[in-house]
């Protein structure tokens, strides 16, 4: 269909994470010859998951974290408490070898994977659709610039990717959290049902529903329903959770159109001012340092928000002295992340004679209930937040500092204690010009590429949202029947800690105000598409990966149609 004699490939995709995997799948399935470049190490799907199903006694130091090693080589990644550990450390970036910089007094946690599949291997798998209101919020409250499209434009693409991803959840019919294409929902703990009933009566303004997660409860081709072993982030050889490794990359390989090159860090994109196109991508082999270049008709940047913008900033030319596709000057700016953290912890003595079997890989979810359908009278902030919940039965791990010795201590430690139910608020972040990343003028990495510098601070709105989330968490735990509520501080998470960094190459209708158009196509460079989190013009309060996937699939459809029409 497409003449590609004079090009090495039809399309080149930078990054093999959740967005890059989708670009690879969509473009190869539409008949394009595609090269995927990944800076991380190769990883064999399934068999490369070295820590999968390792028992606690097989983990070094039986699970006590090797602090000295972490402080020295993984000071950033080891802060990702929910997913980093000895069972999957090979998936992660070595911070010592891959440094970045921060403006003084402005810490930023940049979580990075270092394998094929990227962060799709270690994500928390929460998948929520944006609502109509999310797409309208910038236009209605004046923060940031309006989205050039609405929910209706992306809705069919949500459905399209969801059917392939495999998401389990429960239909609720909420306008602020549209339902996805669901597999059957995962069951609940007895205490969660008790809490659900009490909230219905005592706090009818909130909905407690299933966490919507990209984990199968029904088999899909080549992938099995979850076996509930628990720690998904070690990798899943049965492909029960969605990752590039389990799902999109195998689909792309099956077309025969995919070439995947690992250990390949992209230095820059080469722009040809005559054709006003990118012509080649310049690559450095991470093991040998050898340089090479590849040409293609169309380029997809899916290297993560920070990674993609770093490449653009490092791709300067006479036409684009301030970074490729940056005639607007907004590249690197309007960066966002979700603030997150425990908003409330309650101790419960209900359902004490009820227990569980199996490790459910998600908690429940309380969708946004503040400023829904209009500004709440008592809200001194705009936008809102949702809660992810967590449940656990206290055990030896929460009581190993007990007093006493002998058979009595042993017996009390081996038995379950009271229940704990916690609410963790995920709050929306406003797009602000001052929150940005840029390239260091002095520091380079081991490839000679300028290091990324972060300059990011929470605004008053995020701080007020966090405060409100803590206040309402206390109300909800009380309404749910907690016998004890452990006091929480109004502490902000570190910028970047949400691992939802977004913005920096934002989407908009006006080329003077934004980097990409409504099809994720760079205003300045028609054969460049940017479909990872960098295109996000606002942040919503829900976990963003599903939205990246839907926009990536949509952008691929558009790009291939443009190629066929001879427009690219």
């Amino acid at each position: 269909m497409i003449e590609s004699k004079q090009y090495d490939f039809d399309a080149i995709v930078v990054g093999s994470g959740i967005s890059g995997g989708w670009a690879a799948k969509e473009l190869t399935e539409k008949g394009l010859k595609v090269l995927v470049l990944e800076r991380g190490k190769p990883l064999a799907a399934g068999t490369g998951y070295l820590g999968e199903h390792a028992s606690n006694w097989k983990l070094p130091y039986q699970g006590k974290r090797p602090r000295e090693l972490y402080e020295e080589e993984y000071p950033v990644q080891s802060k990702v408490w929910f997913a980093f550990g000895e069972a999957n450390r090979q998936f992660w970036n070595n911070d010592k070898q891959n440094p970045y910089a921060m403006d003084e007094g402005k810490p930023f946690l940049w979580a990075r994977a270092d394998v094929v599949g990227g962060r799709s291997l270690i994500w928390a798998r929460q998948t929520y659709r944006w609502s109509e209101e999310d797409f309208k919020s910038n236009a209605s409250d004046g923060h940031g610039i309006p989205w050039p499209l609405g929910y209706k434009d992306i809705e069919p693409w949500y459905s399209y990717v969801e059917k392939f991803v495999g998401i389990n959840g429960k239909k609720e019919g909420l306008p602020q959290l549209p339902d996805s294409e669901f597999q059957k929902p995962m069951p609940w703990f007895a205490l969660e049902e008790t809490i659900h009933a009490r909230l219905k009566k005592n706090a009818p303004d909130v909905t407690l529903t299933n966490g919507r997660v990209a984990v199968l409860t029904e088999d899909l081709p080549g992938r099995s329903a979850c076996h509930y072993c628990g720690p998904c982030h070690r990798g899943c050889s049965t492909g029960s959770y969605f990752s590039s490794q389990s799902s999109t990359l195998p689909a792309a390989v099956a077309t025969g159109n995919l070439t995947l090159r690992a250990n390949a860090v992209v230095e820059r994109l080469e722009y040809d001012s005559e054709s006003a196109r990118i012509t080649r991508v310049h690559v450095i082999d991470t093991l040998t340092g050898e340089r090479s270049a590849y040409s293609a008709r169309v380029f997809f940047l899916c290297a993560s928000t920070v990674g993609s913008t770093q490449i653009l900033m490092n791709s300067t030319s006479e036409s684009f002295p301030n970074g490729l596709a940056n005639s607007s000057g907004v590249l690197g700016r309007y960066m966002m992340d979700h603030t997150l953290g425990v908003s409330g912890i309650g101790v419960f003595l209900d359902n004490m004679d009820s227990y569980y079997h199996g490790n459910r890989p998600t908690g429940l979810y309380i969708p946004r209930f503040r400023n829904v359908g209009g500004q709440d009278k008592d809200a001194d902030f705009v936008r809102g937040y949702g809660y992810q919940t967590a449940i656990m039965r206290m055990d030896w791990q929460t009581g190993f500092n007990a007093r006493g010795f002998g058979a009595e201590l042993k017996d009390s430690l081996r038995k379950p204690g009271p229940w704990i139910f916690a609410l963790a608020g995920f709050t929306e972040c406003l797009p602000r010009e001052s929150n940005r990343m840029y390239l260091s003028k002095h520091k380079v990495d081991r490839y000679g590429i300028p290091q990324v510098v972060f300059d990011f601070e929470w605004s008053e709105n995020e701080i007020k949202l966090r405060r409100d989330a803590r206040k309402h968490a206390e109300r909800l735990l009380k309404a749910a029947g907690a016998v004890l509520i452990l006091p929480q501080e109004d502490k902000m998470s570190l910028p970047g800690e949400g691992i939802h960094e977004m913005g920096t190459a934002r989407m908009g209708a006006d080329p003077a105000m934004s980097v990409v158009n409504a099809h994720n196509q760079a205003h300045d460079v028609p054969n460049l598409f940017i479909t990872d989190g960098s295109f996000m013009t606002s942040a919503s309060c829900v976990n963003p990966s599903l939205t990246y996937m839907a926009f990536t699939a949509r952008a691929c459809d558009y790009a291939v149609k443009q190629l066929a029409a001879g427009a690219l």
Binding site: S55, P66, A190, S354, Y356, N359, F400, N401, F405, L409
Partner: protein, 205 residues
């Protein structure tokens, strides 16, 4: 092999990566070690003296004794303690542990006429209880003070208890015969009955 070299080996064993991926080269001793180290936690560590090893064993067993189920010694907790003290504790923490162990080693024979490991169970308990009473102001005992890596200035008795309890419940014996272990549940059920004597599940760390 020095401590630094050992930690490098630990890093390789765990990640499954070859040494070439790391920014250092291995000594001959390290290479030999790696070739003969199938399981990180069960290699012999030679840190305590034979007498100290007996004391540590007796203390661990007094904290988590064998009942109708395995105890600390059955679960190789003494070897775990030696591994942790030798390689996991930092210098400050190790100094506290060493001093505490030295105190037991030298003081108990003077006070009781025989070493700790030869005392009858009630006497051993009395020794441990006295240590706990003397340490009772330590923040280590505060309710819920468990969401942390380690308390570096915790007294000897607290270190001993933390590492013993941790080593026991994360061991194969403690984790599968005292706790319940099912690595492959295949389904999730949030409504199973819990009898008064039932143990917790082992949860993956």
């Amino acid at each position: 092999m020095n401590r630094r070299e050992f930690l490098q080996c630990a890093a390789i064993l765990v990640s499954g990566l070859g040494a070439s991926q790391f920014s250092f080269s291995l000594s001959e001793e390290q290479s030999a070690f790696l070739a003969n180290a199938p399981d990180f936690n069960t290699r012999a560590v030679n840190y305590f003296s034979p007498a100290q090893r007996e004391i540590v064993s007796a203390m661990a067993e007094a904290i988590i004794p064998r009942t109708e189920t395995p105890g600390a010694v059955d679960a190789r907790v003494p070897a775990f303690l030696e591994l942790m003290v030798a390689y996991w504790l930092n210098d400050e923490e190790r100094a506290v542990f060493d001093a505490g162990l030295h105190d037991i080693e030298t003081r108990i024979p003077l006070e009781y006429g025989k070493p700790f490991q030869q005392l009858a169970a009630p006497e051993q308990l009395k020794v441990l209880q006295a240590l706990e009473d003397a340490a009772s102001d330590s923040p280590w005992y505060e309710f819920g003070n468990v969401q942390r890596e380690y308390i570096s200035d915790a007294p000897f008795i607290c270190q001993l208890k933390e590492l013993t309890v941790w080593g026991f419940f994360t061991s194969k014996e403690g984790g599968s015969q005292v706790l319940r272990y099912d690595p492959m549940p295949m389904s999730f059920n949030g409504h199973t009955p819990l009898a008064p004597d039932d143990s917790s599940w082992t949860t993956p760390l």
